[in-house]
Symmetry: C2
Subunit: 269 residues, 2 copies
């Protein structure tokens, strides 16, 4: 039965687990197959051709695991490669850009939206494009915040250093009076408290992980693909290099223990 | 003439340019070929097999450029792969570990040496091993400081956030009363001022870039391989992915402009 198959997720590393954590919350009966491409992390600074090649391989691996639906839980892959790779495959896929863009449009009152993300996501201009496709009168202000990812990965998200760096980065967005800010990177939800403190409580934060999980749920409901066999869920986690450093960071992102992380040679796909 | 050939350098990215900057200072008549593997950066979190494969390719590329001597200007490659790859090649090579270890032994008075570096360099235990081969009575205290690299790459080395993070990291090394600290990562020389302020002026900092350049100079002198044709130097910089982000960071590391950065498909080597 198609609907009892797992949902597939891929990301360049651990960040996509914030989307998985939301799926666990919103769809607790679904089983998950996650592939974290830690051996080729990060995707952000790489060229379009390389990101396209990596995304094709990630999707080919997940298809081999017989998933019913694929979530590109990676802003870079969603921004740069998803449209092309989705057109090449006969399985439905969802990225993290459109759900975040839609939620931002719904949230804004003054028509001024901020986007923060990695160098690659901001340079790709994907969020402004997705937002302007829905509403071309909205003003979008984009800003790369490259230190946020390493700060989160090293567990510094609540320290004073993170706050100082956030103040430095977000100053320009405060000046342009946005009322909505999209967290355009799967690592940023862990910095939500610091970002909210710095940007001010009158700015609405859009968490693309939450929005992507909500859109996945809506899609599966509409297609009659929600799991219904009543069996226990079985989650599987795959990585493309030694899992030593993946496990502890992954557990912080997911808020639960992971056993049995399997190594895959992704270059063979 | 062998001695008029350039010196080859490779690194996983821009960090190795701190060694090149020292060569420019100590050996201004030498020409340099530099390969920065930005397309596969960082090496630090990868497995030994992958780092070995990458190092073999980096060396094969430099040999094709007809260099007279190869410097592994990368702590991870030096720590994990250099010994193996040097044994496979009939060209002399120098890594950054041994010069730093030797200088630390010469500098210490109380026999207590600290080492800071990336996760991979610290986990490899290469500095303690190299130091203990020279003097097994010295006490070595190792510490990973993973946020230092992104702070330097984003130009945050002199900001308050960098100071707070340095205080956090270096606290334990102050407690164990080291009198010598090895900067075991090619990015760290740019943080020298902050690190010296935090660790205290009584601790001697060993900059492995300076020491490696000095050892390269000594080697070339002894072998009669110093350049002597009196012609103008010609430096070449190669990278394994788009150079857009390489150029500005590289110029900060090198303290001079670089033109003409060439892209190489390193996976073919």
């Amino acid at each position: 039965m198609m609907q009892n198959k797992p949902i597939g997720f891929f990301d360049s590393g651990v960040g996509g687990l914030t989307v998985v954590a939301e799926i666990f919350r919103q769809l607790p009966d679904e089983s998950v197959v996650y592939f974290g491409d830690v051996g080729r992390y990060p995707y952000g600074p790489r060229s379009k051709d390389i990101i396209l090649q990596f995304t094709r391989q990630d999707v080919a691996f997940l298809r081999e695991q017989d998933v019913k639906f694929i979530v590109a839980a990676c802003n870079t892959a969603s921004a740069v490669a998803l449209e092309t790779v989705a057109a090449e495959n006969d399985i439905d896929m969802l990225g993290v850009i459109n759900p975040g863009a839609r939620a931002a449009i719904e949230a804004t009152r003054n028509g001024r939206i901020g986007i923060i993300g990695t160098h690659a996501t901001i340079a790709s201009d994907s969020y402004p494009k997705a937002i302007h496709k829905l509403d071309d009168k909205v003003k979008v202000f984009s800003l790369a915040c490259p230190l946020f990812v390493p700060l989160v990965e090293e567990g510094y998200q609540d320290k004073q250093a993170a706050r100082l760096i956030a103040e430095d980065y977000l100053k320009s967005l405060r000046e342009v009076k946005i009322d909505t800010l999209v967290l355009g990177c799967t690592h940023y939800p862990l910095l939500k408290k610091t970002i909210q403190d710095v940007i001010g409580s009158d700015v609405r934060l859009i968490d693309s992980a939450t929005e992507t999980a909500a859109e996945a749920r809506k899609y599966l409901e509409q297609k009659g693909l929600l799991r219904s066999d009543g069996k226990q869920t079985r989650h599987k986690f795959y990585v493309s290099d030694v899992p030593d450093r993946f496990a502890p960071v992954a557990e912080r992102f997911l808020g639960r223990r992971i056993d049995n992380i399997i190594i895959v040679d992704i270059t063979k796909y």
